[in-house]
């Protein structure tokens, strides 16, 4: 993929993000931060590549360290978001 193609995706995704995030109800801003935290750990993809394709031991350990860090975030982020969202209840269901 050439640079302009990926830049186009990036710019359009910024606009999508802009409109989607303004729709988020303020009551859910904390879960929003937690879930964005979890999804930004998609950086784990880079760490996986570093580990899988490593030619040197140091690159491999760096990759593995990255995987551990990102996994804490992925599992922690989604789990804590789930926990928070489960607490939001409507009046009648109490």
């Amino acid at each position: 993929m050439d640079f302009i193609a990926i830049l186009s995706i990036f710019v359009l995704a910024c606009f999508v993000g802009y409109y989607v995030v303004w729709q988020v109800t303020p009551a859910l801003h904390t879960p929003l931060m937690a879930v964005t935290n979890a999804i930004s750990s998609v950086i784990i993809v880079g760490a996986l590549i570093a580990t899988a394709e490593s030619s040197s031991a140091i690159a491999k350990y760096l990759g593995l360290a990255g995987i551990v860090l990102a996994s804490v975030n992925i599992f922690g982020g989604f789990a804590v978001t789930e926990r928070m969202l489960a607490m939001y209840k409507k009046k009648d269901r109490n």
């Binding site: 993929m1 990036f10 910024c14 999508v16 993000g17 995030v21 303004w22 729709q23 988020v24 109800t25 303020p26 009551a27 859910l28 801003h29 904390t30 879960p31 929003l32 931060m33 879930v35 964005t36 935290n37 930004s40 750990s41 998609v42 950086i43 784990i44 993809v45 880079g46 996986l48 590549i49 580990t51 899988a52 490593s54 030619s55 140091i58 690159a59 491999k60 760096l62 990759g63 990255g66 995987i67 551990v68 860090l69 990102a70 996994s71 975030n73 599992f75 922690g76 982020g77 989604f78 978001t81 789930e82 926990r83 928070m84 969202l85 607490m87 939001y88 209840k89 009046k91 109490n94």
Partner: protein
């Protein structure tokens, strides 16, 4: 193939789908009803991205990868289950630091082993020039996110004073460091053979860690909602920059989403304080001692007991509760819910009013109230409820000071002038829960509401006094 990374179309498509799933995850948060489905989309997107990467790369190190994911996963899961809801701001800051560090780690791995990431120029055996910019920016933003979030975590966790720490000539130091980082990245970009000058990359990385630290230490506790949002945004931009390096659409889309999300939250927070983003970043807010605080010390105010408060509220038709950081500090949300339940049984209408910057992160109060099982349709945002105070019998302010301070409207000299406030003083009676008369809020500004004829001060720990009110209501 002429592509650098040369991903097969199926793989690119899978990453695209996972990017779309992440968009749906955020879309779900537009309402509490759809939010949990949204979170599932997010998980599915992540699982797809990870699976796609594993399937398309060398499987030899799969066991080690599995162990690494398991270790991280267990740690993350246990933390997420155990963390107290009041500690959510620090947790989010800690998680941001991990994203930042992960970005740095990936960037360094790519720098050391560019061939594995498909960013090696076959002719010169150097990293592709455009990849150098992406890599440099990704690593720098990741490092800033990391060290900045560590400081934010320490401040929010109380391991470090929330007071701004002001270095002499800090603006010069910060701007100089920032310029040096950008200069080094530019040099990294134009050099014909950057591998011959390894110190360049490492110095740039070191300076980026330093600037993250320097940027956050002068920012005080009450500005943390902006800082946390800003670091949220940075973690996204770091992921996006790494996505450019790896030509990975899932990373680029996610980075753009998270980056804009954090930026919007920062904007909302700044607007709710009527401060410019730059003035928050410059730091130092709340460092100056309150000006002219001397003459207010002896002013008369009415002090009430829990019994008085219980009596007043029992007689009321409508009550609006205004929670603030003080409620979070004393963990009063559960007692507060008990109190409002008893009042509802008495036939009193109870609503909650939340200021956007109440607490230490966006939405902090909403989560605490949700934790205490306050139904979310009883909780209102500032602009939706502000006009109702005038028709309300009792405004029950608990641990919120600056967000109710009329000085924001009337006193041009006040540091909080122009900030939108909850107009609690319009209510027939204001019950103001506050630890003591000293220490007037974070901004160090005295609050006229304390001294009004229709205000009764309840000076005690928030949780203690609410529990006493609950007891009094029981009789």
């Amino acid at each position: 193939m002429h592509e650098v990374a040369g991903l097969p179309w199926g793989v690119s498509l899978a990453y695209l789908v996972s990017g779309v799933l992440f968009i749906l995850a955020l879309r779900g948060l537009s309402s509490p009803v759809s939010s949990r489905a949204g979170n599932r989309y997010g998980m599915a997107g992540m699982a797809l991205a990870i699976a796609t990467t594993l399937v398309t790369h060398n499987a030899a190190s799969l066991p080690e990868i599995g162990v690494a994911i398991l270790i991280g996963g267990i740690v993350g899961f246990v933390i997420a289950r155990r963390i107290a809801m009041t500690a959510m701001p620090q947790l989010v800051a800690a998680f941001h630091s991990l994203v930042g560090l992960a970005a740095v780690v990936v960037g360094v791995a790519a720098y050391l082993n560019p061939g594995a990431f498909g960013i090696l120029d076959a002719g010169s055996n150097e990293i592709l020039t455009h990849s150098r910019i992406e890599l440099g920016l990704g690593v720098a933003i990741g490092a800033i996110t990391f060290s900045g979030s560590v400081i934010a975590f320490l401040k929010l966790n109380g391991s470090m004073s929330g007071k701004p720490i002001l270095l002499p000539a800090r603006h010069m130091i910060n701007l100089g460091t920032l310029a040096a980082i950008l200069g080094l990245i530019a040099w990294f970009f134009v050099l014909p053979a950057p591998s011959a000058v390894p110190w360049l990359f490492w110095t740039m990385l070191g300076l980026s860690f330093a600037i993250g630290f320097l940027l956050i230490i002068p920012i005080g506790g009450a500005d943390m909602p902006v800082v946390v949002s800003m670091l949220n945004s940075y973690s996204g931009w770091a992921a996006a920059a790494m996505g450019f390096t790896l030509q990975n659409t899932a990373m680029v889309i996610t980075g753009a989403l998270v980056g804009s999300s954090g930026a919007i939250l920062s904007y909302i927070m700044c607007k709710a304080m009527n401060r410019s983003f730059l003035s928050v970043i410059a730091g130092g807010f709340g460092a100056e001692a309150s000006s002219g605080g001397g003459e207010q010390i002896d002013r008369a105010y009415k002090r009430g007991s829990a019994e008085d408060a219980a009596f007043l509220m029992k007689q009321a038709d409508s009550i609006i509760v205004v929670p603030g950081y003080g409620m979070a500090v004393s963990q009063a949300q559960h007692a507060l819910r008990e109190m409002t339940d008893l009042l509802k049984q008495e036939g009193v209408t109870v609503k909650f009013a939340i200021h956007p910057v109440a607490g230490r992160m966006p939405g902090h109060m909403n989560v605490l109230l949700a934790e205490a099982a306050v139904p979310y349709d009883d909780v209102f945002e500032l602009e939706d409820i502000n006009s109702e105070f005038a028709q309300t019998d009792v405004a029950f302010v608990i641990g919120a000071n600056d967000v109710t301070n009329p000085a924001a409207k009337t006193d041009k000299a006040s540091p909080i002038y122009g900030m939108p406030i909850l107009e609690v003083y319009n209510a027939k009676t204001v019950l103001f829960v506050k630890r003591s008369m000293g220490g007037a809020g974070y901004a160090g500004v005295d609050n006229e509401v304390f001294y009004m004829d229709n205000t009764m001060m309840l000076l005690a720990d928030a949780k203690k006094i609410v529990e006493d009110i609950v007891k009094a209501l029981g009789h």
